[in-house]
């Protein structure tokens, strides 16, 4: 019996033909993948030097180009668009052709990547059982964002040049659409956020996951439409339209995302937290100590800049007001993180402004209360119009309680394998003034870690935070590179306060603490009859008129 008459035989015949044609390019791509694996092998968790990074970037670029060529040429061996294709008049099932192309991409692109990742993980000291799921998830990520979209573009075009021009056109269109939507979004919400409504927050993953599913759906739909229906025009419209909607996903509203996060949990009780506008406390210190604030806000787009004279530089065309909000019922040892503070100002005739206030972190080491200075940047025009009127101001808070738990303590200097953080090591940097702490982990790095130097149970110096809050369930967090490295720097004691140039206290260790969400909840603060002019902030640590007390700049 002719083996090609079986489905597997037909798929195999197409695959063999493609491999026969593509093996030199595929071999080059695999070689580059191997070279990248070798240059990325570092034998320590520490970052590469700049020269090494440049080499990695160069090899990565060459690898990406070769992979694009392999995918496009593999697909276009049997082009789908057009009216003259040889394969259409051959007894080849379309689903067999699609399957053969996907198998070729899997074999020629993902095969080498997977093998190199496994070898790389083993050589870095991880077990096979540890590296396998990370490599599989990494390949899923690469397939989602690279190979499947490239395959879809190749299936809608006839030549490599056409595919590259098409991809470039899509990219330019994508950027223009994104900018246009950002401008429109800004006009409505008065918040210029390139990262979108949830960007840079812990719930970014909600819409991001949805958009990833959407992207997967588009590429699969395009491939099915092309191969099963050979409908190139419809496929192109679907792809471009789908990508436009993908762009829109960054601007999906906050509330459904946060409501989903609340529903998903975790659900530890947070009912005791209350927030009230507290003019009586306005002369008290507003906000927690600078060293403990802003730790999770690494990508806060509204972060304030303070010049040398302590004058707040607010975004152009804005006026900053700071309102004292008393927060009570804070659990001991936890951090209250403000994910979002939606602001709505209204006068007697209706709403005059909708926007967002600055986000914040509050910590009450022994529980209880803390005063929050809620900063809001208002457009100058709004402020000028309404500064001296009594207004109604509503603040809708989306909040999260985060609690730290110690992951491990590392010898300083030294290294240790730490569950949930990977292989961590620390060493005194070349200047001798600080301690570099680095970890190499499988999959995505922990969303929020603090690193501090302790000796004799006492912390020395401030902690270094490495936080990009992400409330996504851990099982769903993965990255294109299955081995992630992250590094922070801890200042050492000043010279003269410790032996040998103040390098390290005796018996020093590096404590790693991971912060994880314990509860998500919302609170509303409504202030009646507020006059904006009373709460305008001019200088860092000062509020005009009523609240003359210190407001931490790091608080914004």
């Amino acid at each position: 019996m002719n083996t090609a008459s079986l489905p597997s035989g037909r798929v195999g015949a197409i695959l063999r033909k493609d491999l026969l044609l593509l093996w030199p390019l595929a071999a080059l791509s695999a070689l580059l993948q191997g070279i990248l694996g070798i240059v990325q092998h570092h034998s320590t968790p520490f970052d590469f030097g700049h020269g090494h990074m440049a080499l990695v970037a160069l090899v990565t670029l060459a690898l990406v180009v070769s992979m694009v060529l392999v995918v496009v040429i593999a697909v276009q061996q049997d082009p789908v668009p057009g009216f003259n294709q040889d394969w259409v008049v051959r007894p080849i099932r379309r689903r067999d052709l699609l399957l053969a192309k996907l198998l070729a991409v899997a074999l020629l692109i993902h095969g080498p990547i997977f093998v190199v990742q496994i070898l790389q993980g083993l050589s870095e000291g991880f077990g096979f059982g540890q590296i396998l799921p990370a490599a599989l998830l990494s390949n899923f990520e690469i397939a989602l964002f690279f190979t499947l979209p490239v395959t879809a573009i190749a299936a809608m075009t006839r030549t490599v040049g056409e595919a590259l021009v098409g991809a470039l056109a899509v990219l330019v269109g994508f950027i223009l659409a994104f900018l246009l939507i950002t401008v429109l979004h800004d006009a409505v919400t008065h918040s210029w956020m390139l990262s979108g409504t949830t960007g840079g927050t812990g719930v970014q993953w909600v819409w991001q996951s949805l958009s990833h599913l959407w992207l997967l759906g588009i590429t699969v739909a395009v491939l099915l439409l092309q191969y099963l229906r050979r409908s190139t025009l419809r496929s192109r419209v679907l792809f471009v339209g789908g990508l436009f909607l993908f762009t829109l996903s960054s601007f999906l509203p906050w509330h459904p995302a946060y409501a989903f996060q609340e529903w998903l949990g975790p659900h530890e009780p947070a009912g005791g937290v209350t927030m009230v506008f507290d003019t009586a406390s306005s002369s008290a210190r507003v906000g927690p100590a600078p060293t403990e604030t802003g730790v999770f806000l690494t990508s806060n787009p509204l972060a304030a800049v303070v010049d040398g004279k302590g004058v707040i530089k607010v975004p152009g065309g804005s006026v900053r007001i700071v309102l004292p909000i008393m927060v009570s019922g804070l659990p001991a040892g936890a951090v209250l993180h403000g994910d979002r503070a939606a602001v709505r100002l209204s006068d007697g005739r209706g709403t005059i402004y909708r926007g967002v206030g600055h986000v914040f972190d509050l910590r009450a080491p022994s529980g209880g209360s803390a005063l929050l200075g809620q900063a809001i940047d208002l457009p100058k025009a709004i402020y000028a119009r309404a500064a001296h009127q009594p207004l109604r101001l509503a603040l809708d808070y989306s909040l999260t309680i985060l609690r730290g738990h110690a992951l491990a303590e590392l010898p300083a200097p030294g290294d240790r394998r730490v569950p949930d953080a990977g292989w961590c090591a620390d060493r005194i940097d070349i200047s001798g003034k600080s301690l570099d702490v680095a970890c190499m982990t499988l999959g995505a790095e922990p969303p929020c870690l603090s690193m501090s130097l302790v000796a004799g149970g006492v912390r020395h110096g401030s902690a270094a935070y490495r936080c990009q809050l992400n409330y996504e369930p851990a099982a769903m967090r993965f990255a294109a590179n299955p081995i992630a490295r992250f590094q922070s720097r801890l200042p050492l004691l000043p010279p003269g306060t410790a032996p040998s140039g103040g390098a390290l206290p005796l018996g020093a260790r590096v404590r790693l603490v991971e912060y994880a969400p314990q509860a998500h909840f919302t609170r509303r603060v409504v202030i009646q009859g507020v006059r904006l002019a009373d709460w305008r902030q001019v200088r860092a640590g000062s509020v005009a008129a009523k609240s003359a007390s210190a407001v931490s700049p790091g608080h914004s």
Binding site: T3, S5, A13, P79, N84, Q85, R90, I92
Partner: protein
């Protein structure tokens, strides 16, 4: 009853504003050599591409071996050979690899015939298809269409742009299998196909003007030359079946589209009066096409 291997009914296809097919009907009897003829832009290639599902019709249906052209199963495709002037073959493959690749898809692949065709058509096994001349590529396509002994061979302008030697080689290869298969051919080269065509369909402006057995068409179309006793003129009324009447002195010529040899002399005399001589000669396919096409443009049925 004739068994039609190809049947097209009401095929319509538009490209932008251009209507390539406007309700095309035709049928190809099994075992025939069917020539689909028409001027440039008549819609021949579109029709053929619809048959093998390279293009989908917007209206109408086409069946090959009773299978809908839009969903031709591999079992049917394995019995169809297709060669087109602008067919896109896998250019990066060598000829040998191309045949090796195709072999697995056709249960009826004839290894001996493959060797014979490759030898006869002088196909260099190691050459990449993309590096071949147009003529060589057509030869490769033809060999790759004949080698599994298809039941239906569809040729879309196969001789366009080929030199005489290549044409002869192709025709020779075709003729060697002519008895085994049904051939549907579109061509401008009437000389090449005339000798082998059994059925002919004339297309004009996306429609079928007429389709007929070649022998019937040849016997009813006659180029007539009548020499009269007096200077010739075209009398009124003039029979509708006599087209393209012209006069030269005593001579009147026309095309008889319903030629009946037994009664023709009497009919001529009844229309033209006394005549000195009547010559009614068969027309070659090229001339037949010319008459039918001109009649169609004039809105007359030939």
């Amino acid at each position: 009853m004739t068994n039609n291997i190809v049947q097209a009914q009401g095929l319509c296809r538009r490209f932008g504003r251009h209507e390539a097919l406007r309700g095309l009907n035709f049928s190809v009897p099994e075992g025939s050599v069917y020539a689909l003829i028409g001027a440039n832009g008549a819609g021949k290639t579109t029709a053929v591409k619809i048959l093998v599902n390279l293009i989908e019709p917007m209206q109408g249906t086409a069946t090959i071996m009773d299978a809908d052209s839009r969903t031709l199963p591999p079992t049917v495709l394995a019995q169809i050979g297709y060669v087109a002037e602008n067919q896109v073959l896998p250019g990066r493959l060598r000829i040998r690899d191309y045949f090796d690749y195709l072999r697995g898809f056709y249960p009826s692949w004839d290894g001996a015939l493959e060797a014979s065709l490759r030898d006869r058509l002088q196909l260099p096994a190691e050459r990449r298809i993309g590096a071949l001349s147009h003529g060589m590529r057509i030869k490769v396509a033809l060999a790759a269409a004949l080698v599994y002994r298809p039941r239906l061979l569809i040729l879309d302008e196969p001789f366009a742009g080929l030199d005489v030697l290549v044409r002869d080689e192709l025709m020779e290869s075709l003729l060697q299998q002519a008895g085994e298969l049904t051939v549907l051919v579109t061509s401008h080269d009437f000389g090449e196909i005339e000798g082998v065509t059994t059925h002919v369909g004339f297309m004009h402006d996306g429609r079928m003007l007429l389709e007929e057995h070649m022998a019937d068409l040849g016997s009813r179309l006659r180029e007539v030359r009548v020499t009269l006793e007096q200077p010739a003129r075209v009398p009124e009324p003039w029979p509708r079946e006599w087209l393209e009447a012209r006069t030269f002195g005593n001579v009147l010529t026309f095309i008889d589209t319903r030629h009946a040899p037994e009664t023709f002399g009497e009919r001529v005399r009844s229309v033209l009066g006394p005549v000195r001589q009547i010559d009614a000669v068969p027309m070659p396919l090229r001339a037949q096409f010319g008459v039918i096409e001109r009649a169609a443009r004039a809105g007359v049925t030939a």
